[in-house]
Symmetry: D2
């Protein structure tokens, strides 16, 4: 069993999700590499130590440059805020490290392009953590589409609805709230939530040609949680767009943090000539499937409980009927990354795939400003 | 177009449902007979007049004997409380009238048997208003079972859950509340709600061999709504039983008026070797269907929206996607009754079918007293 | 009881829905006026006769001008294709008749404006059959919004999804298929389906400021069902738009006949500061309601079975738990129209309300051509 | 941080679930004890080694007596078939080890009673792995009941439906299939599935007084998977019973492996005076809750997505909207066991609680044979 030494930057929500995935993968998947939690890196040494203790990292670093400089690290895993993705990833690639990066890849496509150039020049394995591709029901959707079960695609629609920022008392900025700060996050829901919807859509339905969008900031000013000063809110609270895909299908996309009653309702639906599919993150272990070729009288949306051993990844877990959850999508992504190392065919989404999503989010934000349809760069 | 002159006894909830069905059937079904609302009969002349005016009955009677005596009446339709089903039906049969009777057929099987004897001796068309058989989704279930799609049946389960008598302030007896009076109703939920479940079950799954039951009266005393006196409650508030069908399947049945959150949740599920079916009255336009022979990866319960023209009765109504409701089951029953007249093959459930259900409810009540399994008479 | 003599133009699907409503309303609602089916009018005398016989119309006409000329007609009810709405309505108004008109009001807003002018000049009661407002669950949504339960509104989204024109074998034009002919229908799904979504939205959420849209015709040519000639398809098969409402909320709307698995899935959702609501036509007797002010641990979307006597219109029908269906929305609209006559306050949507929807559909179609945001006229 | 050295017997499905729980608990819960996977024990040394390697056990044993004899083991965890629960647990208790035991506690109550005596005499911490108590939604149900939100309880109903043994080609006996062998399993679905339903029911609704039951073996003979001989099937394939609880509520219970379309559908519903609750294992992250005291018009079943930080255990995992799965119930049970050690109040269910369930399953099997109501021993 070969070791795969992980150096992780960041110890927040995503740091936990990644660490858990690295720890668990070997118990459930038979792989040639065993991830080793070698070092956790964060600016605050006390917090980094606490995180390392909780998760079994062997050491800590407080400067990511030092982490990258270490010989005993194979993989730099970036679980830090968006504004540091590019410098870390580029430096890591230059140092010959494999690079895993949280989504979205960068603050914008220009930055993302440099990251792609860096990893491709260095020829290092690289991957973006668009984890929802690896939910078994979503992977099953991919299989069905690739097998042609849907036929010609007419419609794609996706939403990501949350409601956690509705209160005007919620402060912005600072630790834990960097997602409300455009300087750190790049954008609001466009890069945070829509990016997930777009990554899945490009993967399932191919490239997009053009978009028309609108965004809104419902609460215009908030108190900063560190300085106490009232500041203009810089992010988009909601972002909607219409799109036309290269395959001729029409789409609408929406993300918001102002949809009361929805916590993390990522949902998509695809309508094809012969069949339709829909899925949502609140019941992630189910896939809804409508097969028009069923006998007419007994045609109906099938609620597939994606827990059987012939469902993607599910032979690795429990028995039929017993569901897995959110965290398992990360485990699957690690497993696929390692299998990519074994096979030589890198696991998607690579940085180049992540760049494609950034091209779309750039076009969305541009259209929201211009009021026009904008072409999506490829 | 031949006339079918209706004389209806009763002007309550069921009287309205029947009157509506007689009025509507000709607009949607092409039949040889047109029902004519000839006379409405009830003890209270003012109420009978009001009812007749609302529904377009041509005349009223205040004594059902006078109604039966009239030459211009073809059909006696009994929509009155359970304790008068037998005398009216028997007299009507003797007078050579066709007889339609609300369910349950009688206060008990002994009485029902006399009614069966009367209509069979008189050779008059007869039918019991177990209307739920004619919900399109339920009729579709019947088709699927009869076609053998389910294969060998292992399990049947049915419930009828309500919550309208939980308050101890609810009075008993008197007008509108006769369902709480065992002398008038025969029993509580056993005859009122379980009877529906049993009628459907016998029709879909064949005869029952034996049952073991338990019943309960949760509120032991109530004030009478007319006399003001506190009286012992005579009916069963809840009734549960296990059953074994002749085909070897096992079943459980339950009815109660103490299931908070359920208004009229009649639901059944049938599990067969190859497929399963479930249905509920709160979404009566849907049938849930699981087909094991579907490809494994995309197997799931299908939610069939029973509104297509190839679904039972649905070619008569609107267009796909547009649902019908409760009242339409009565329209279908009238249509089928008339088609039975046309074809000479009487529409089910006949009085004899209604008797079969009374045999089961008798066995249930007997078992609840004896604490033993009781054989169901046939 | 006063008579309200109805002269109906058209005997298709909508003719049946209206006739049924006129016939039923008096059985369930206590009103001062009783609709009388005086005359059915259609170009084909044989079909008109058959329709009149089925529904109990006293007479027929084959020219709507003759119908309008009759003294014994109080109300002209237009259930004919869209291209004749304007001439009939304007003539009827000039003749002093009340006018009821199927939706959409006209082929476009310019035409609709003339109709508004005609009825307002003649001061005749007028109404457009946007029947979905009168589904009890939708009316309940209106009540909750008007009571302020949702607070500030952030999002509105609506879809109307069908799948009946996907087959390229489906012909166009001619009897029964006029909805596929832009000359007769005005547009495709924009006027047919989106119009419903827009009418409800304007009613629930107030006026729209501007829209950006895209439309598509997926099957470009079809054989004509009468001539047999292959012709270009003139209608939009799908129509999507983003909107901004005057109240600051953002919206997306979509209608299509290419969404496999959906028969008539009209659905809307509204997200407010304190509560959210959603509804769909496939389960029209339910309203989904999320109340953020519920205690946190037990907060969840409530599935309200809108069948209680304190729900809109439901005291007129059956008992709790027993659902009504599609056709009842028309009965309610007739009842409200008559109550408008009684009270002197006309029932909405009037022709002026219908015009507002045509202004939106015009803006949508214009934006789909221009590729720009278009302002909605008011 | 103190160590808690685990010696586990068994390396099958349950062995994996326990091992995963011991490994994960420290990453998500802050506890005084850290479980250490000290030794895995199984008769087949090669398999035990493989299992130990996969999960990080430090050593193996092939004889459980040797495991118990080791000084470096604090806890004996029994994840082996039912027929060895008693001897291992009794020996472990005598050796002063803490004992965790898979459910059901024993082959029957007589045996379970000896196990209770052993652990109580030895005063060793003990627990039975009825893991479903620790599903957050189920624990939330417990909280709501204990707070009195439901008021007087009228009804309890529970089912555990599977369909994996319907095929007559499925062999019986031998490795992996011991659940089909009554000598090893004690009974069929009664001990395997109903036991879960009963454990939850006793915990939520208090003790049961009496039961009447029926069981069935649908496939009477199967080929043995090792010997190839056709043998009589000794287990119950389905088991149904009615019950009366000490609190006056009525119940029905059902378990079967012949319910086509259900993989592991454990579901329960409780109807109280003021509120009702239902839950099912196929969507284990949701609780359905009906609160009658809500305003009438907006009353409805609430679908609670149990993923908020104020929900039981959920502050330990991800963020609202992101669900956990089956395996987490075991992690919670380990956490609670350790907290029981810390506080001195042992975590339930103890062996004594497990015995109570065995008393019920004994009564169920007895009633199925006697055809009578049987009293439940306490």
């Amino acid at each position: 069993m070969k070791k795969l030494n992980i150096g992780m930057v960041g110890y927040g929500f995503m740091g936990r999700a990644h660490a858990n995935a690295f720890r668990k993968v070997g118990n459930f998947f038979n792989l040639d590499y065993q991830p080793v939690l070698k070092a956790a890196c964060g600016r605050d040494a006390a917090k980094a130590k606490e995180f390392a203790a909780q998760w079994g990292f062997e050491s800590i670093e407080t400067d990511w440059r030092m982490l990258i400089a270490r010989d005993d690290i194979d993989v730099i895993d970036i679980a830090a805020p968006n504004d540091v993705h590019a410098p870390i990833a580029i430096a890591a690639a230059k140092a010959g490290k494999m690079v895993l990066c949280e989504k979205p890849l960068a603050l914008n496509a220009a930055e993302a392009l440099k990251m792609v150039a860096a990893v491709e020049k260095a020829k290092v394995p690289n991957m973006v953590w668009y984890n929802y591709r690896r939910v078994p029901a979503v992977m099953l959707a991919k299989q069905l589409i690739d097998e042609g079960k849907l036929g010609r695609i007419f419609h794609y629609r996706a939403k990501f609805l949350q409601d956690w920022t509705i209160s005007s008392d919620l402060p912005q900025g600072g630790a834990g709230l960097w997602r409300l700060d455009a300087k750190v996050a790049g954008s609001g829901v466009t890069g945070d939530l829509l990016a997930h919807c777009i990554d899945t859509a490009l993967w399932l339905n191919g490239p997009m040609d053009k978009v028309t969008a609108t965004t809104e900031t419902f609460i215009k000013e908030r108190k900063h949680n560190l300085t106490g000063k009232v500041e203009a809110v810089s992010i988009d609270d909601a972002s909607l767009f219409l799109a036309r895909f290269a395959n001729g299908s029409l789409a609408n996309f929406e993300a918001t943090r102002y949809a009361r009653g929805h916590k993390a309702l990522y949902t998509f639906e695809i309508n094809g000539e012969h069949a339709s599919i829909s899925w949502d993150l609140h019941d992630l272990h189910r896939l809804q499937y409508f097969e028009h070729r069923d006998e007419g009288r007994v045609r109906g949306w099938r609620s597939i409980h994606v827990t059987d051993s012939d469902h993607p990844y599910m032979d690795k877990w429990w028995v039929p009927g017993l569901q897995i959850g959110y965290e398992h999508s990360f485990v699957h992504q690690v497993a696929d990354f390692i299998q990519g190392l074994q096979s030589g065919t890198p696991a998607a989404p690579t940085f180049r795939d992540g760049l494609a999503t950034d091209y779309v989010t750039d076009a969305v934000l541009k259209s929201a400003r211009s009021g026009r349809w904008e072409t999506v760069k490829r």
